[in-house]
Every structure is written in C-alpha cells, then in structure tokens.
C-alpha cells in the first residue's frame, strides 16, 4: 500500500532528515565553548552525570541556588559540567522529577540521581478562566489535555484533538472533507434546539465565537454551515481545559450552560534561545466503504424488479438494463470517486527564549492537505503566533501579550461525491471518453465528475490578539485587565459554470453563475478585574471581582452573478450579466457582565468556592436583558487530614457543586418584529419580506447543575482515580418551537416550559503500570455514561413537539413505525397498525420510541516509553444505535447494499428484504420508506476505534542541546464495528466519512 508519498511535502522532510544526520556526526558542534570561557578564577568546575538510577537523563537543568542565570543542561549522556563556587548549592530540576538541592561542598565530581515525582500532577495549575487553581485544590469539574496529547495527532481541528480523551465530552466528526466540522456536546444535550448546544470557546481570555461563517449559497460541500473553529492552529495550543460543572462555569453566566472550552496558547520560555522545527508528511484514505452490489448482482435485481412490476418491456430511459449501457461493465464507484489518497504535509517552526523578566515565542506553521476525490483539490492552512511575557523587576507589573494570525485557503468541489459513489449503477458508463474528455454517453447519464467543475473556494483570515496587564497595588491585591480583539474575515465563492452541463445541450457561459459570501466578524472585549489574595493563619482567601464589556459586529455580504461572456471571466463578478445582492447585513451583539468569586481555603483541607455573574445580552428584548447566575462549590481534601497524611493515599478529595448557568444562543435580533430586504427584484422594486414570526417576550434559559465527585490518588499518585456524578437540569427552554406550515413559518423563538435532565457518571483512571529504569508504561482511561431525559413538558400532547418527544425519554429519540417483518404473501414490509385503522400512517402508527443517545463512550490511552522510544495510542469507544444507510427501495436505477440480494421473490421464495420494484409499485415504495422510518432500520452502530497511534524515537545525537525526534502518527487506523453501512461515526446522508491518516515526521530542536 502506497501510504507515504514524499513527492510534494516530502522535500522538507528529506532536508531535515539530512541535516539531522550531518549534525549527529559532527563532534565539534558538541563542544560547549561558552561554558569554558565563563569559568573564573574564583570558581571551579563541577562535573557529573544525572540519571534516574538506571539510565542517564538528558535535558536536565542544573543551576545554582540564587543564581539561575548560570544554568546548564545535561547532554544526551546525562553529563553536565558547571562552574560554581565551593559553597554553592546545585539546583537540579526536570519535569516529572523532584527538584534536588545538592550542596557542592568542594567536590568536583557529583553524580546525581533524581527521584520521580509523581505528585507533581497535583501541583499543576489548571486554567479556570478568570483564575487558575491547583489541580488538587479545584472545586469544579475541569477536564484537560495538553500539547503533549495534541502533538501526537495528525489533525487540524481543535475539536478533533479532544476526541476520546475527555470524560463527559462527546465529539463527532461531520464530514471527512478538509475544512469541515465537528459536533461537540459537553455532558449531553441541554437545549431542545439542536443548534444551541455549543460550548463557549475562549482563547487566551478572548471569547471566540463559533457561530458559523459559511453560507448556504457557497458552502454546499459541507453538511452544515462552516464554523470558524478550523482557524485555530492546534499546534499553537499549550492546553485545552473544558469546564463542565456549575462551579467552573457559573462565572461565565449566561454562556456557560453548555460548558466552556478554554484554549491556552503556548508561551515563551526563559533560557537560551531555542529553535524548533518539525515537519511531517502523510496520506489519508476513507475509513470504510459500504459493501455494494456488482454489475451481475445489480442487473439481476433490476430485471427482477421489472418482472415483479409486471413490466414486459424495459423503458426507453432504463439505460442500465435496456442494453444502452454495457451490461458487462463494472466500476467500483466508491473506489473510483472516493478511493483517492489525500496527501498531507505539515511544517512548523518556532523560536523561543528570554530573560528572567521577558520571554517571547514566535512560531509559524503551514499545512497542506489534498482530498480523496478524483481531482486536485487542496486545503491549505498557515499562520503565525507571537507571544510576549514581561514582568517588572519587582514583579509587581506583568504583561502578557499574544497575537495570532491564521490563514485558511480551501479549494474543494462544491459537491460531495459520496452519494453518487454509493448510488450509481455499477455498469454506468466510463468517466472519460477515448479522447480524455468527460464522457456523457450520448446524454444517457450525468457524469458525476462534471460536479467537480463547480468549485468552492474559501479563504479565511483570522486575527486574534490579547493583552493582559496586571499590577499588584498592595501585597496580594492585584488590579488587572484584559483587552482582546478578534478580526475574522471569510471570502467564499462557489462557481456553477456551464461546463458542468452535458455539452450535447449546448450549455453556454450565459448560464454560468457564481455565488460569493463575504463575512467579517470583529469583536473586542475588555475585562477589568481585581483580585485579592491573603493568608491569615491557616485560612487563605481569594477574592475576584470584574466586569465584561463585549461587542461583536458581524457583516455579511452575499452576491450572485449569472451569465458571463466567457467562463474564463466567471470569477469576475463585474462581468456577470446580472448581479444580485442576496444579503447585505450587519448584526451587532453586545454583552455586558459583572462577575465575582470568593474562595476560602482552610489549611488545604476545606475549600469553599463561590462564583456569581450578572449578565446582560442584546439578544433579548427590553426588560429581559439581564439575569443573574451563580454557583457554590466545596471540596474536602481528606488526604491532608493528619490521620491520613503520609499513607498510601496520596490524594483524597471529595467535592461537590451546585449552581445556575444560562444560555443565550438564539441568534441576534430575534425579539424584533421586522421586515428584511429579500434581494429579489420585481418590477424594478427590491422586495421586503417578513423576517420571522416574532415574540418579544422570550428570556433566558436556565441550567441548574449539580455535581459530586471523588478524586483519589494512591501510592504517590501512581494510580489516580476519579468518579463524578452530575445532574443538570435545563428549564425555561429557549427554543425555536416548530410550527405547522399554515402559520407561514416553521419555527418561532419562545421559552418553553419544558425541563430536560442530563445526568451521568464520569470515570477517569490513570495508572503508572510500570516504572522500571527507563521503561515506563502509563494508562489513562475515561468512561462516561449518560442519561438524558425529558422531565416535564406541560402540554406536550397538544404541542407541535408531540411527534418528537416523550416525557421520561431522552431528547435524542425518534418515534418510529414498529417493523413486523415481511408479509410472505405480498413480499412487502409490514408494520404495526397501532391505531388499527387499516392504514399505516404517521403520526398515529409512528409511536415506537427508539433511543439514539450513546449509552456510554470513552477512551483508553496508553503511553509506553523506553529510552528514546515512546509509543502512545488511544482507543475510542462508543456504544450507540443508529439507522442503516437508506439506499431506496431495491430495483430502481440506483445501486444497493450487497446484503439486499436476499429479497422476496415469490411466496415460496422468501428473503430478508421486500420485493424489488422499479418504482411503479406504490406499496413497495411506501414499504421501503416506512422501513427507513421503522425499528427495522435501527442497528447497532457501536464501535471501537484506534483513534490515534504515535510512535516516536529520539535520535541518539551526540550533541548537547539538540534533539531530533522521528515520529510516526496514525489516526482512525482501525475500526471495529458491527455497523455494515460504512463508517459508524455518523450517517449524515451523502457526506464523506472520516479519513484514516498516517503521517511520518521529524522534529528538530536546538
């Protein structure tokens, strides 16, 4: 299998490999001349080796107490030498090990053995948004992944990096086309409105709107509107924290109901200037295809359908069976149209360094990815980040600045060929004629490749910056403010050129069209805050008060141009015969809040955390704009009680929280009764149309969250276990209530007196299975079980949701017909006639509840390290049901799953599936449709997937301060599932499934 291709992105790879190779043979470069010149007559040279007891440790920082400037780093063999005074003390520190203080006592040779420090995990500072908290002392529920987890994954979307790695966070990819999206649900679906379950994203303190920037006119390649999250460069992320419970999210008030995703970017590190480059290249292919019929099987089905329908002659347009098309031709359309290999290449570089007071980081990246479609389409993404940290010498003043600029350039077919690949008859004609032109077979088919003429070109520029200034006015009293600014601009075009059409019909460029979407979003945020920390005896107090002013302005400008003098002018909308402005809109979202936090910590044993926020949002009508949210959280660190100290229990914490958060994801201006320009011109007048059914009275949706959790660590945290139970209740649901079409609209914004409960249990287990010498093996497991339930819904029976929900059932149910097998006499599917009226019809017979919520999901991650080798792999698992892929009733001019060969023929020759029809048999067409809406189509879509595997090896370079690492990464490599209809992750009709990807890369740091 030709997985690796070094044709394009490979050049950089070879280059670096070569450099690394050369360097490893150059002993002169290893000499540290600087070190020798700094030795002075008052000092002497101390030499030695650092090890963990069995093998040497490279990269350990050795400095002198009270003089961190004179630091050196151990080389690959663990050796170091440092000049020091006779009475100095060495400070030996290395991540993951206990810091060692070693008085020199006039020695010149000191061998140092470092102790693994497993308890540092408890000391890790976790970002909670407006404040950070020690892992051991947090009262809220926060899941976290760091750059270490992200670096092993060949993915470009920030949500993809979290998939399978966080308890309580369910993430689903929605298309395999690059630049597409992911769905995220943190602790289940809270809102009945499916598009109101997005979490709040915050990058370095700046809210990042995930509202779509795509348009339905242009982004037809994707199942939904394109979200801006693809702009975030995953390589620049230091950590992602997901805030889940009330204690963690209530400080985000109205926007915290669905959880908060905090993204912290990498910052500069003090010390000598370090350069780092990495490059990788690889390939991707579709994970799984459907098992479809071949030509003989398919034609057999077709012919049988004609017999079944009593038709003695094939119709003039039944080209597949009537002899017009070659009856012996076979094309595996899935392979032909989706079987390509996506070429992936990635390059990154960064430089970081700085002094004790000022550090910087500058990094850049470039990513290129082609598609599996049979034509050259490229997704490109590049960007740069800059970060600067400064503090004054007295450490009172601090400044953190970060800015990033990312560019995406996506060139895709505007049409996903997946549906064609699955439905085209296997004996459909060749794609190209003998001259290499698109083959139209005398107009008897629509060549699917013609669709590739219609292209989506999208480019997005995203600028994001943030400054945080803080000043310590008095001891423990800090005044700070953050200033954030984002500017996102998207330009998308979709062309529909006449060359898509069959040349027989003489399509001319006068019918060619172009759609364009220019969307810009600017936002600023200012968040002045004041914090005060003071210790009194065993009590420690932390106070935080602040306010938020946020303004977000979105402008959208959609154009359509039709009729060009020539197709070569199609991108010049000025050349279009008719140009129409489809939308010219500007929306403003303003948001204001006050928030505060009081944290009390008694002797690191009892912790109380109070948070509150008062929010105002322009999305609500006068009188409904403000609301107050808050939470209380408490933790008891019983492992710090005297009687448990120094026992096998290294961490024992019981924590609980309760609070209220809100949700304002309803879109802007929904409370106004307005007319909108429709863009359509009639008789010289541009039309105005009613914008929506209006309701000025809707208000905040509230979400009450309760959580109780136990966190434990054993044997110096070699085993860490946590269990959390949560129960969230959303009420006063803000929804677009579906309306019958007779109202003129299909929805209205309103608060619904319905209550939805999400509860579940989340487990995480992290074990250090082996730790022998330089060999270590760690396992992380996360498991989430969820239960979603509609608790109450007054008037459900008479409401428009009658056919969607059931009290006591999850939101993610479907009411279906009850499948009763095949009628052996007629050969048509049968269903339960629930109301016994003799007809199977909706809604009365469509009453069987099927739950499509995942029962449980999670991931198991293993990390194995041995000397320079490390292996990291993650299995993701989901237990869920889904429907089989609907392919239409067998016998029409459309391919089918191979398993449908087993169909009913006569009352004597039964089968699993109903009789075929060419489309004339109304009962069979109806039967097939009802089947797709029945329990018969529900199948097990659970899967276990080798989500990610990464193998890396540190080249044993004979060089100080230079590291070279070779990395092999794989994504979605193996999938175990009973699901027969392709990839089990999602079944969105006709969209490309996720890809499996293998990349090889090299990292060089010096």
């Amino acid at each position: 299998m030709n997985i690796f291709s070094f044709f394009k992105g490979g050049k950089a790879f070879y280059c670096l490999l070569f450099t690394g190779f050369l360097l490893s043979f150059s002993p002169s470069a290893a000499r540290n001349s600087l070190r020798r010149s700094t030795s002075s007559f008052q000092q002497h040279l101390v030499q030695g080796t650092v090890s963990d007891g069995t093998s040497p440790l490279p990269g350990v920082t050795i400095s002198l107490k009270g003089n961190s400037k004179a630091a050196v780093i151990s080389d690959y063999n663990g050796q170091f030498s440092i000049s020091a005074g006779l009475l100095d003390t060495l400070v030996v520190s290395y991540l993951g090990f206990k810091t060692n203080y070693i008085p020199i006592k006039s020695r010149t040779k000191i061998d140092i053995v470092l102790q693994y420090d497993t308890t540092t995990l408890q000391e890790v500072k976790v970002n909670a948004g407006y404040y950070s908290v020690k892992e051991s002392e947090r009262t809220g529920s926060i899941a976290r992944i760091t750059s270490k987890d992200i670096e092993t994954q060949p993915v470009t979307n920030v949500l993809a990096t979290m998939q399978g790695r966080m308890a309580g966070v369910s993430i689903t990819q929605t298309t395999g086309v690059p630049g597409g999206g992911f769905d995220i649900k943190i602790r289940g679906q809270n809102s009945i409105r499916s598009d109101a379950n997005a979490p709040l994203y915050i990058i370095d303190g700046v809210p990042y709107s995930s509202d779509p920037i795509g348009s339905y006119y242009t982004g037809t390649t994707f199942p939904g509107l394109v979200s801006p999250l693809n702009n975030i460069n995953t390589e620049s992320i230091e950590s992602i924290e997901v805030l889940k419970d009330a204690d963690a999210t209530a400080i985000y008030g109205s926007r915290g109901a669905n959880g908060v995703v905090l993204i912290t970017t990498k910052k500069g590190k003090k010390g000598k200037t370090t350069y780092s480059f990495s490059t990788s290249t690889g390939a991707g292919k579709v994970t799984r295809f459907l098992k479809l019929m071949n030509t003989t099987e398919y034609l057999g089905v077709r012919r049988q359908a004609f017999i079944n329908d009593g038709l003695t002659q094939y119709g003039a347009s039944d080209y597949d069976v009537n002899g017009t098309w070659d009856q012996n031709r076979y094309t595996n359309w899935q392979k032909e149209l989706l079987g390509g290999t996506s070429q992936i290449s990635d390059f990154q570089g960064s430089v970081t360094g700085g002094s004790e007071t000022t550090q910087f980081l500058l990094s850049g990246n470039f990513h290129r990815e082609t598609t599996v479609f049979p034509a050259e389409f490229v997704y490109k993404k590049g960007g740069s980040q800059f970060s600067l940290n400064h503090r004054s010498a007295d450490t009172k003043f601090k400044l953190i600045f970060s800015a990033s600029y990312n560019i995406q350039d996506n060139d895709q077919p505007s049409f996903d060929l997946t549906n064609d690949a699955r439905t085209l008859p296997p004996n459909a004609p060749a794609l190209y004629d003998s001259n290499g032109n698109l083959n139209w077979e005398n107009g008897t088919w629509d060549n699917p490749l013609a669709n590739l003429e219609s292209k989506l070109e999208s480019s997005t520029n995203d600028f994001l910056s943030n400054v945080m200034l803080s000043y310590e006015i008095a001891n423990g009293l800090v005044l700070k403010s953050s200033f954030g600014f984002t500017n996102l601009s998207t330009k998308e075009t979709r062309i529909v050129p006449s060359t898509m059409g069959n040349p027989m019909y003489n399509p001319s460029s006068s019918s060619s069209g172009i759609f364009s979407n220019n969307t810009d979003r600017k936002s600023w945020i200012i968040e002045p805050q004041i914090t005060w920390t003071f210790q009194s005896g065993r009590s420690r107090y932390e106070f935080l008060a602040g306010s938020t002013f946020q303004n977000q302005n979105t402008t959208k400008f959609y154009l359509m141009g039709i009729g060009f003098p020539s197709n070569s002018l199609i991108y010049n909308i000025a050349a279009a015969k008719t140009v129409q402005v489809l939308l010219n809109d500007e929306t403003l979202y303003k948001y204001q809040a006050f928030f505060g936090r009081i944290n009390y910590n008694w002797d690191k044993k009892y912790i109380l955390n109070l948070t509150a926020r008062r929010d105002g949002s322009s999305r609500f009508g006068p009188g409904n704009q403000f609301a107050t949210f808050g939470a209380i959280g408490a933790a008891w660190l019983f492992s710090n009680e005297e009687y448990l100290k120094n026992s096998w229990l290294s961490l024992g914490k019981l924590r609980s929280s309760y609070g209220i958060t809100g949700n304002d994801q309803i879109g802007d201006y929904q409370f106004l009764n307005t007319y909108t320009t429709s863009g359509a011109i009639y008789n010289g007048i541009t039309g105005l149309k009613p914008t929506r059914l209006f309701n000025s009275d809707f208000g905040w949706e509230t979400n009450k969250k309760f959580e109780i959790a136990l966190e434990t660590g054993f044997f110096n945290d070699r085993i860490l276990f946590s269990a959390a139970y949560y129960q969230n209740t959303s009420s006063n649901q803000l929804v677009g209530i579906p309306l019958p079409g007779s109202t003129g609209f299909t929805v209205i914004q309103s608060n619904l007196d319905a209550t939805v409960q999400n509860k579940g249990v989340e487990f995480t287990l992290s074990t250090l299975n082996f730790q022998v010498g330089s060999f270590s093996w760690k396992t992380n497991l996360n498991l989430t079980t969820t239960l979603n339930k509609l608790l109450s819904f007054p008037g459900l029976e008479s409401s428009t949701y009658k056919q969607q929900y059931r009290i006591g059932q999850p939101l993610n149910i479907q009411l279906m017909y009850k499948f009763e097998g095949l009628n052996t006499q007629t050969g048509i599917y049968q269903f339960e006639d629930t109301n016994k009226d003799g007809v199977i019809s909706s809604p009365n017979d469509k009453q069987t509840v099927v739950n499509f919520n995942p029962k449980f999901f999670g991931g198991i991650q293993n990390q194995v390290n041995y000397k320079g080798f490390s292996l990291d792999f993650l299995f993701q698992f989901v237990k869920q049901k889904n429907t089989s892929y609907p392919m239409g009733s067998g016998g029409m001019m459309s391919n089918l799953q191979e398993r449908m060969l087993d169909s009913w023929l006569t009352p004597q020759q039964l089968g699993n599936y109903q009789q075929y029809t060419t489309g004339y048999n109304s009962d069979a067409v109806m039967g097939d449709y009802l089947f797709s809406q029945s329990t018969g189509s529900v199948v097990d879509a659970s899967f276990i997937r080798l989500k990610n595997i990464a193998i890396s090896y540190n080249l044993p370079l004979n060089l100080k301060d230079t590291k070279c690492r070779i990395i092999l990464q794989g994504q979605n490599l193996l999938t175990f599932t009973k699901y027969e209809d392709g990839d089990p992750e999602f079944i969105a009709y006709g969209f490309l499934p996720p890809l499996k990807v293998i990349t090889a890369g090299l990292q060089l740091t010096f």
């Binding site: 439905t423 005398n442 107009g443 629509d446 423990g476 005044l479 027989m504 019909y505 003489n506 001319s508 006068s510 004041i530 005060w532 003071f534 008060a545 602040g546 002013f549 039709i562 009729g563 008719t578 129409q580 500007e586 929306t587 403003l588 303003k590 204001q592 105002g616 322009s618 006068p622 704009q625 802007d668 106004l672 307005t674 007319y675 429709s678 359509a680 011109i681 009639y682 008789n683 007048i685 039309g687 105005l688 149309k689 914008t691 309306l739 019958p740 079409g741 007779s742 003129g744 609209f745 428009t800 009658k802 007809v839 909706s842 809604p843 001019m893 489309g919 004339y920 109304s922 449709y929």
Partner: protein, 461 residues
C-alpha cells in the same frame, strides 16, 4: 488586621469605579441595516409596495406557481399525462410521474409551506395596511386588493391539490398553528368573497405596460375560473365575458408564436422575470436542444394527439432527435437563457382560457351555439376548422380536448380539468401507479405531526 480593612476599602473604591462605568444601555442595539420594523414598512407606500412585489417574485421562484421544475407546470404534467420523466435518482419528478407520492415528499411539503408563507406575507400586508396611519386611501385600497387577490389564488391551488385545507386570514401563529381544515366548498366561498372584495378596488388599467400586477380584470378572469371549477356556470360565463368584452385591452394573438411574448395582447396577468434580460423559468426548464433530455420531455402521446394542421403543434412543441429517437419539449416559452432584454414572462391568465371557460359554461347551461362559437374562436386561431361536436356531451368533450391542446404545461390545467370533470380514473388509469385516491396529494407528514387538528390524512396515504 487594620491593614486588611484599608485594603478592603481600596477594593471597594476601585471596584465601584469599574462597576459604575457600566449601564444597561450598553446592551441595547440598533436595528440591523437589512431590516425595517413592521410599522415602519407600512408608513411609506414605497416600502409597503416592496412588501407586495416581493410576494410576486416569491410566486415566480418558489412553491406551486413557479415555472421551474419544482412548480406544478412540470410536476402536475408528470402526474397527469403531459410529460415523461427520465429515470434517474436525482429526478424529483419521478415520484409524480409514477404517482407514488409519500406524505414525506419534500416537494409536497414545499408546496404547502411556501404557499402558506406567501399567504402569511399577504395577510401581514393586509393587517399592516389597515393599521397604517400614513398611507392614503387609494394606496391602501390597491395594496389591500392585491394582497387579498394573492391570498385567494394560493388557497385556490392548495384546495385543488390537497382538498380541505385551512383558509388562513390572520397572521397570529397561535390561531394558525391549531387551525382545522376548511371544507373545499367553504374555501370556494372565501375565495369568491376575497375576489369580489378585491375586484372593485383594483384599477382597470395596468400600472405599467407589462401587466405584471393584477388589475380589475385579472380578478374577473380568476373569478371566471373559480366559478367554473365550482360549477357556477352563469357566473363563470359572466365573468369571462367581462374580460372578453374589454376588447381594447385584450385581444387574441393571431400569430401563435407571439402569444407568450411580454407584450402579448392576450395576457391578463403575468409574473415578471426579475433581472433585466432574464426570461421564464419554464423556458429554461422545459427546453432541451439535443436528446435524450436530462429530466423530462413532453409525452409523445400528447405531441401526436394534435390534429393535422394544428398550428399549436408547430409553434408550441419542438421535436428534438438524434439518430435513434425523437423527443419533444414544450416550446411555448422559447427562451432558455438570458437575452439582451427580457422577451418572455410567465403568464398566469390569458384570454384564450376565458373563451374556453365561457364555452364550457355556456355548454353546461345549454347554450350550445354560444359554446361552439367560443370554442371555434380558439380552434380557428390554431388554424383548425370549426368543431364537429353537436350534442352537449360532445361539445364538453371537445372543450376538454381543446383545453389539453391549448393549455398544456401551463400550471396543471390538464390535471385540474380531468379532476373537476371526473375523468381522472378513465384518462390516467393506464398508468401503473395510478390510484383513485391520487386525485389528492397527501397532507405533508410534518404538518400532521405539528398540527394534529389536520388529521386524518387524505385517503390512500
């Protein structure tokens, strides 16, 4: 501890500074520039006028009356016996052609939802105009009459496609979401009432030379059709006469190739094509220049049913062949693409239909001579001799045939004619998928799910 208090005071001071800066008005926003408040729209004639013309462009591009492939000119042509659908998974016409519509068919839901959203827009104008304090009476009358006219025509098609449907006259969603079905007979009463209200308020002359907004006679022409469908023959005949008698305004176009041009003197009401140079959606959908056609073609049975010498076959139907076969397409609208200036608009009412309505109404009332006179007017124009029909039944048969030839692929006339004269089963029974219950479309499943008051579903679904 004293320092603690001093610090607390500092905090309170600074905090109040920060907090005092904020005020509620921060979160109030202006209207977005693409929107106008409801009241403002009806304070000026120009904006109120833009609200009504928007419904016309919506009628042209969406829903039942659009000339595109999703409108009834195509779909009912397939559903009855005028058109042939090519089998192809992408062809939404196949379900119509095979008469295998399901309640979940998205096209059906679109007919329903789009029509009612257009009706909502009309009702919103009626309510807005009535409340307006700024518009003059004559402006109010014109807007009201046009809105009522639109409301009536949409309900007319809904009732003929779906049977008993709600007749919606208000915008209040609470009322409209639990509404019940109005019997067809009642719907006809409402339509007649609406049209009779609108007619006197509409101007006799068109506001421009293009006849793209209904005038008084558009309402009369529509009334003539409604009365005919409702078997009120004398009213149908009177209304048709009222239009026919406006000889200064309307005149049969003797050159058949010019009947569907913008300036045709026989046009009573047509939908303008939007941007300059654009022609009809019918033209761009039906016309193909080489075979086989990509989606639909005119049934060869229809093409071959014309009598020898019928000029309509020459002028309005075009054969397209290749070495092995010949196909036909409707060629009433002759422009597939844009032209330097628009040549054709989509015609909803034209004079020929008025003659055929009066002919049928007269025959039904026993005025066989008058009936034949009108019938022959249409036949002669097509280059055919006078009809040989003698008895009432023969004449009525001849009229239905004449309507088939005259009005094919125009907004489902053929299907409605067969339906109102009880001929569906005899004329369409040859189709394998045809069932008696196919005379009505299914009520969209989504509609029954959200408004159970509309139950039961139409027979057969």
């Amino acid at each position: 501890m004293k320092s603690v208090y001093i610090i607390s005071e500092k905090i309170i001071c600074i905090a109040s500074l920060v907090l005092a800066y904020s005020c509620n008005s921060f979160v109030e926003v202006e209207l977005p520039k693409s929107q106008l408040t409801n009241t403002a729209v009806f304070e000026e004639f120009e904006t109120a006028d833009a609200a009504i013309t928007d419904i016309y462009s919506s009628l042209r591009t969406r829903g039942i009356l659009t000339g595109s492939g999703s409108g009834i000119s195509n779909q009912l042509g397939n559903y009855a016996d005028e058109l042939i659908s090519i089998e192809k998974p992408s062809n939404s016409s196949l379900f119509f052609y095979n008469n295998t519509l399901l309640p979940s068919n998205s096209q059906i839901a679109l007919y329903w939802n789009t029509s009612y959203s257009q009706i909502y827009a009309a009702n919103s104008i009626i309510e807005g105009v009535r409340k307006s304090s700024n518009l003059s009476n004559s402006q109010k009358n014109q807007l009201l009459a046009e809105a009522v006219f639109i409301r009536a025509i949409l309900h007319f098609y809904l009732a003929n496609l779906f049977g008993d449907v709600p007749y919606i006259t208000v915008t209040d969603y609470k009322t409209n979401s639990t509404v019940r079905r109005t019997p067809v007979s009642k719907i006809y009463e409402f339509i007649i009432k609406d049209l009779s209200d609108a007619e006197p308020l509409l101007p006799a002359n068109y506001d421009s030379s293009e006849r793209v907004r209904p005038n008084k006679y558009s309402a009369r022409a529509f009334l003539a059709r409604v009365y005919l469908y409702n078997r009120s023959y004398s009213e149908a005949s009177d209304s048709a006469s009222a239009v026919i008698n406006q000889s200064g305004l309307y005149e049969l176009n003797m050159d058949l190739s010019k009947v569907f041009l913008i300036a045709s003197s026989e046009t009573i009401w047509q939908l303008q094509s939007g941007n300059a140079g654009t022609n009809t959606l019918e033209g761009s959908f039906f016309i193909f220049s080489s075979g086989p056609p990509s989606l639909v073609s005119l049934s060869s049975d229809l093409a071959e049913s014309f009598s020898n010498g019928d000029m309509r076959r020459l002028n309005w139907i075009k054969p397209v062949g290749n070495s092995s076969a010949t196909w036909y397409h409707a060629n009433k609208y002759k422009e597939k693409n844009t032209t330097s200036s628009s040549k054709e608009y989509s015609i909803l009412f034209r004079l020929a239909e008025m003659y055929l309505i009066r002919s049928e109404a007269r025959a039904q009332q026993g005025d066989l001579i008058g009936a034949k006179e009108d019938l022959n007017k249409i036949r002669n124009r097509a280059g055919l001799p006078n009809s040989g029909a003698i008895t009432k039944a023969e004449i009525l048969n001849a009229i239905i045939l004449e309507r088939k030839w005259e009005l094919f692929t125009e907004f489902g006339h053929r299907f409605f004619d067969l339906k109102r004269t009880g001929r569906l089963d005899t004329d369409l029974g040859y189709k394998i998928g045809w069932d008696t219950t196919d005379s009505l479309f299914p009520i969209p499943e989504s509609e029954l799910n959200t408004n159970p008051n509309l139950l039961p579903q139409n027979q057969g679904y």
